[in-house]
């Protein structure tokens, strides 16, 4: 649905903008895979598989559900913000 390959309509600078947008969409997809893996994965669906890894009186899945996923979310947002703000400058689309 992200139709990254559709023809550009803004004319000048379009290809460059298109490359910027594709890079952004790739970043988003990778980040969201990690986002889903730690919460729905480690915190819920994969918890039985992680049951043997003990953390502080319980198992790793419980830790992910109550703390781990929040910490990873934090890391993800700051990493994305840092990476995108850099990407903005590299593609010359940042604000002065």
């Amino acid at each position: 649905m992200t139709d990254t390959n559709s023809p550009n309509t803004t004319g000048g600078g379009g290809d460059k903008n298109q490359a910027y947008w594709s890079a952004n969409v790739r970043m988003i997809i990778v980040s969201l895979i990690i986002w889903a893996f730690v919460s729905f994965g480690c915190g819920i669906l994969l918890r039985p598989l992680l049951a043997d890894i003990k953390v502080g009186g319980t198992d790793l899945g419980f830790w992910f559900a109550q703390q781990g996923s929040i910490l990873v979310f934090l890391f993800l947002i700051f990493f994305y913000a840092w990476r995108m703000n850099k990407l903005d400058r590299e593609h010359g689309v940042d604000e002065e």
């Binding site: 903008n17 952004n24 919460s39 049951a51 319980t58 198992d59 929040i70 995108m84 703000n85 604000e95």
Partner: protein
């Protein structure tokens, strides 16, 4: 100084602070009223967003939900924080670039459809009004418990303060009071938690104490908790999901809370206040930092409070005689007065027994010990408020918690009221009724809408309709199934056209509402539900609180189908989408206003 005077002093001082900020941060233009002049620093906005987001439910109820639900209620922790990843990656930067004032305005412009804008306004108002009722009743409860005034007067005082800073200052006043309210609420939440963590685990950081050792027994805190709750017939605190259907429901519920969080307009509009697109990205990160400070503490508070209560009732261990009613601690007496803690001596032995009287396997043990049912009912909402008393902390900490609970409720109420009033003045009055209204006229209209919204919210807070308790299902369901998908498709697809968007939003909204009504009663009127709201009894094996995620998927599907069957989007809309995706020029867009 007695407790009442302390409470009055703390609450009075914080209210004076909020009013002081209101006088200082008056709004002079619509840009200031709607978006604080787009001059808010990303860290400041992060703090304001945290207060805006963390409501009476987060401050008062969440630790209790986790304490009595255990692992399964981790959904709230993951759902209410995971939504910020979606906001930061999928919505906030682009909507900031768009550079207008309201969420329905983006939907209306992007889908070149006044109908889509009106549907968005309706969704926004229904979600925000149901949400604000909960905050107003929370204000009333906090006042009546801590300041001994009656509910009505308490609510009136709270509404009066919000009126002052929200009508005068709009977004500008709300932003800076929210920053102050965040500081009050996080201090109030953390201090008792640190003391309790120190008492139980010796660790001053509650989040670490949760996975640390229990000082008294020498075993890990969670192992100890699992042990004592199972000795009383409850399931293990950290128990895994039992069967596949509860796993599916947990996934869907968590997902609904995530996309609902990302789709709630009062949170989204906070990101319109920062100067640049890059600031919107940072700001979402900072918001989650400030939210995480409370959300990492909450599960520790929940687990430790549960253990504390059991230790109080069974001072010599769960296999020994329980506490005599006459010897109960003061905090129990205080909360009995409010009716939120109830004791009934079912077996007439003068002692308090609390156990799982619904467990069949435990029934034999209970009978053997002469127990005739669990005798103590603890409302889960009192956990956080009673925490300082349970841990025998000094009076000023209790007063601080009172001020913190009020800060949490008022800050969220103000954010919601702002979202409602800007939708009325900007989307309805300027957007469709009188497009030629002057800047001054619109500012006045915004102030009047705000005043009316506060009056309506206060009235509903005093006379809460039957559905007040269902706000989570309703507000998150609507935001998840109608608003989030429309915004996301508006940014990430150029192909979705006006007809597709309207079809998608209506499909998601109607499906979700009907499903909630089938399980909770039509318009929440008791007795009109067709299915029990349990995993086993529900229509699709999905509880109504988790249905928003299915509604969202249907929204995407309907929008895509209808768009492919109808004409392509016009060129100027494709250009609009292109420009929203590129940060460059956000400053220029601002200057037009």
């Amino acid at each position: 100084m007695d407790q009442y005077t302390l409470n009055l002093l703390f609450v009075g001082a914080t209210f004076a602070l909020y009013i002081g900020i209101a006088v200082w941060a008056r709004a002079g233009s619509t840009s200031e009223f709607y978006a604080a002049g787009r001059g808010v620093h990303p860290v400041t906005n992060g703090m304001a967003t945290a207060a805006d987001w963390m409501s009476a439910a987060s401050f008062i109820s969440m630790a209790g939900l986790i304490a009595f639900g255990g692992y399964i209620n981790s959904s709230f922790l993951m759902g209410w924080t995971g939504g910020y990843v979606l906001l930061a990656l999928l919505l906030a930067p682009y909507l900031r670039k768009f550079g207008k004032f309201t969420v329905p305005e983006f939907i209306g412009d992007r889908f070149y459809s006044p109908t889509a804008r009106i549907i968005a306004v309706i969704c926004l108002i229904v979600a925000s009004v149901t949400y604000v009722i909960g905050q107003m009743t929370g204000v009333g409860v906090a006042f009546s418990r801590f300041l001994e005034v009656n509910n009505t007067l308490g609510l009136m005082i709270g509404a009066g303060v919000v009126f002052f800073y929200a009508v005068l200052g709009g977004m500008k006043g709300v932003t800076y009071t929210q920053v102050a309210q965040y500081c009050v609420l996080i201090t109030a939440y953390t201090i008792p938690a640190i003391f309790i963590s120190l008492q139980l685990t010796g660790n001053p950081i509650p989040a670490l104490g949760l996975f640390g050792d229990h000082v008294e027994s020498g075993t890990a805190l969670l192992t100890r908790l699992d042990q004592v709750v199972t000795e009383l017939g409850f399931k293990e605190y950290t128990a895994q999901n039992g069967d596949p259907s509860s796993v599916i429901n947990m996934v869907l519920f968590t997902f609904s809370l995530m996309i609902g969080t990302a789709g709630l307009p009062h949170v989204i509009i906070r990101f319109f206040t920062v100067p640049k697109v890059s600031d919107a990205r940072w700001s979402a990160g900072w918001a989650l930092v400030f939210i995480a400070l409370l959300y990492l503490t909450a599960p520790a508070v929940g687990a430790m409070a549960r253990l504390n209560i059991i230790d109080t009732i069974y001072p010599k261990g769960t296999s020994q005689e329980s506490l005599a009613y006459e010897a109960r601690p003061d905090w129990m007496k205080n909360w009995e007065v409010t009716g939120l803690l109830k004791f009934e001596d079912k077996n007439g032995d003068g002692r308090i027994q609390m156990y799982n009287d619904k467990s069949k396997s435990f029934a034999a043990t209970a009978e053997e010990r002469g127990w005739k049912g669990s005798e103590l009912k603890v409302n889960r909402d009192i956990l956080v408020l009673a925490n300082p008393e349970i841990a025998s902390l000094p009076g000023w900490v209790i007063a601080l918690v009172a001020a913190g609970g009020l800060a949490a409720a008022l800050s969220t109420a103000a954010g919601l009221l702002l979202a409602i009033s800007s939708a009325v003045s900007h989307d309805l009055i300027k957007g469709s009724i009188n497009p030629n209204i002057s800047e001054k006229g619109e500012l006045l209209a915004a102030r009047i809408s705000m005043a009316v919204a506060i009056a309506v919210a206060t009235y509903l807070g005093l006379n809460p309709p039957g559905f007040a308790a269902q706000t989570v299902a309703l507000a998150f369901g609507i935001a998840a199934a109608s608003i989030f998908p429309a915004l996301m498709m508006g940014i990430f697809s150029k192909r979705i056209n006006n007809k597709g968007a309207v079809a998608g939003m209506l499909t998601g909204l109607i499906f979700t509402l009907v499903y909630i009504f089938l399980h909770k009663g039509w318009l929440f009127i008791p007795g009109t539900a067709s299915f029990p709201d349990t995993i086993a009894g529900s229509l699709f094996g999905i509880k109504s609180t988790a249905i928003g995620s299915i509604g969202a998927i249907l929204n995407f599907a309907a929008a895509y189908l209808v768009s492919t069957m109808t004409e392509d989007t016009p060129d100027e809309i494709k250009e609009l989408v292109e420009s929203v995706r590129i940060p460059k020029g956000a400053g220029a867009a601002t200057a037009e206003h």
